[in-house]
Amino acid sequence: MSRPATRTAPPVRPVAGARAEKVPATVKGGRRRGDWYAHLFIAPSLFGVVAFLLLPVLIVFGLSLFDWELLSEPRFVGLDNYARLAADGQVWHSLWVTVLFVLLCIPLQTVLALVLALLLNRRIRGVRIYRALFVVPWMATPIVMGLVWHWIFDPRDGALNRALDLVGVTGPAWLSDPTWALPAVALVNVWQHTGYTMLFFLAGLQGIPQEMYDAAATDGATPVQRFFHVTLPLLNPTMFFVSVTSLIGAFQVFDTIFAMTDGGPGHSTEAFNFTIYQTAFKEFDFGYAATLSLLLFVIILLVTLAQVRFFGKRTTYDLS
């Protein structure tokens, strides 16, 4: 902690002569002057937060009570949009697609990331390079990689089915097959996020003191027991963070679907965010699209709260 202190010295010296007169003056007016500066510092970001985050949320609430096709005047319809939502099979289908997508992605991605982190949390040759290579997909522009994977999954010319041909297997039509399209898109999502998730687990694993494992080993715990009774419980905070953030992301999936399937074939990959986009910017049904956004908001909020309760209930260990 001594380094910052020495660093502060040079800028202080030039104004040292002002000490005698300045101090009494700021004692009384200091609070107000501090306020003024603080407000000035906050102002731009507060404008951003209010105008582009809070106001939009209020607008979404208000807009959900209107029927508005942009060109006409907005028409107040009360709760009509909500009634329509309740009876809209396409919307519930889209919600179901989203839930399936999340269920296909998150468990696989989390388990894979944890396994990779366990494999890389040891001294092996090239561990740095492996780590870097696994994180590479996270940097990729989702829309670009969506297009690349679209080609990989091509039924005839795609790399996947060509490779399967070599071993004598005829691959399905993937993205044009309603059964395989969603798993394929989910797989791309797993590809993109596993390495990134692994980094968090690695950090979590490195925060577990060796003594805990030593103690468990002394008590005769097998490696499997050590994993379930030492590693996993101590990873609880990491697991909480990873689970909350990756679920929030997966519920809003858009780019990958836009690039790979456009929601098809036959709505089989039309996740909720895609439906919102279609409703607003293809059908110009803005009031209804706002109602759909609100539903997504509530769902994400509930899922997050459920995780707060789930992870909060489990024992956490304070190692500090």
Binding site: T8, D35, V57, V144, L147, H150, L202
Partner: protein, 268 residues
């Protein structure tokens, strides 16, 4: 034996991670004929620069320039406004600090998917659809996430740091710029990298708010390349190569920093 198996597993994983990138590079340098006559994972011999030349003839260079501009402006805005706000929240005392910070935290919970429609309507009301302002302004003033990150960092600095300077009569602005800023270069680096990546890769907002050449960014340009039945994969991969190279370059140069910063942002 066990070691060999471990390396085999890791190599397989690394291969899957990198394979799509490899495909982009191989295909970008293949001719149409080579694309049809070789397996996707084999290189075309001899390699051709024709696809790159072709993509650089169209509106793609303009889209690339637009993306660079957008990324630069958004990153600059994020760094400047976030630093000021985070410093105030972390180290200054002022009326309304706690409730305001809670407000910021609450807005972190608002998913992007929810704000897109109202943001579009706000921009439409202001006549900013299909303009640079419309593209940039909603994300110019720093994100609550960035402010949270920087605030945590400022709070971690030793408490007495400003005292000496304050006693000597330095104002908050001097203290921030001369004393605090040099200390938070690692945190600013982290924030910059995250902002560069997310701006460069952003798609939904540019797709909605822009339509003309002047403001078209590279992700939107890529999406339009896909249109139609017969996709020109040579051209598409050449475009993909151009879009991906800057991200890969950043990754190679800042690899260690990125790995460290990802961990830092998540677990504070």
């Amino acid at each position: 034996m066990k070691r060999t198996l471990l390396h085999a597993v890791l190599l397989a994983g690394a291969f899957v991670s990198v394979f799509p990138y490899l495909l982009v590079v191989l295909t970008a340098f293949k001719s149409q004929g080579q694309l049809n006559s070789t397996e996707p994972w084999l290189p075309g011999v001899p390699p051709t620069g024709a696809n790159l030349a072709r993509i650089l003839e169209g509106d793609f260079p303009r889209a690339l320039l637009n993306t660079v501009l957008m990324t630069a402006v958004l990153t600059a805005g994020q760094l400047v406004f976030t630093t000021f706000a985070a410093y105030a929240f972390a180290r200054l005392r002022f009326r309304g600090r706690e409730p305001l910070f809670w407000l910021y935290l609450a807005t972190m919970m608002v998913p992007g998917a929810v704000t897109v429609i109202p943001l579009f309507l706000i921009m439409r009301e202001l006549g900013l659809v299909n303009t640079w302002w419309g593209l940039l302004v909603p994300f110019l003033f720093g994100t609550p996430y960035g402010i949270f990150l920087m605030r945590q960092f400022f709070r971690g600095l030793p408490a007495g740091l400003e005292e000496a300077a304050r006693i000597d009569g330095a104002g908050p602005l001097t203290i921030l710029l001369k004393i605090m800023l040099p200390l938070c270069r690692p945190a600013l680096g982290t924030l910059a990298i995250i902002t560069v990546i997310s701006s460069w890769n952003s798609f939904l907002w540019p797709l909605i708010i822009t339509s003309g050449e002047d403001t078209k960014v590279i992700t939107v340009a890529m999406a339009t390349l896909k249109g139609g039945v017969g996709v020109d994969y040579n051209l598409l991969m050449a475009g993909g190569l151009i879009a991906l190279v800057p991200m890969v370059a950043i990754f190679i140069f800042f690899q260690r920093h990125i790995v460290r910063s990802v961990v830092l942002t998540g677990l504070k």
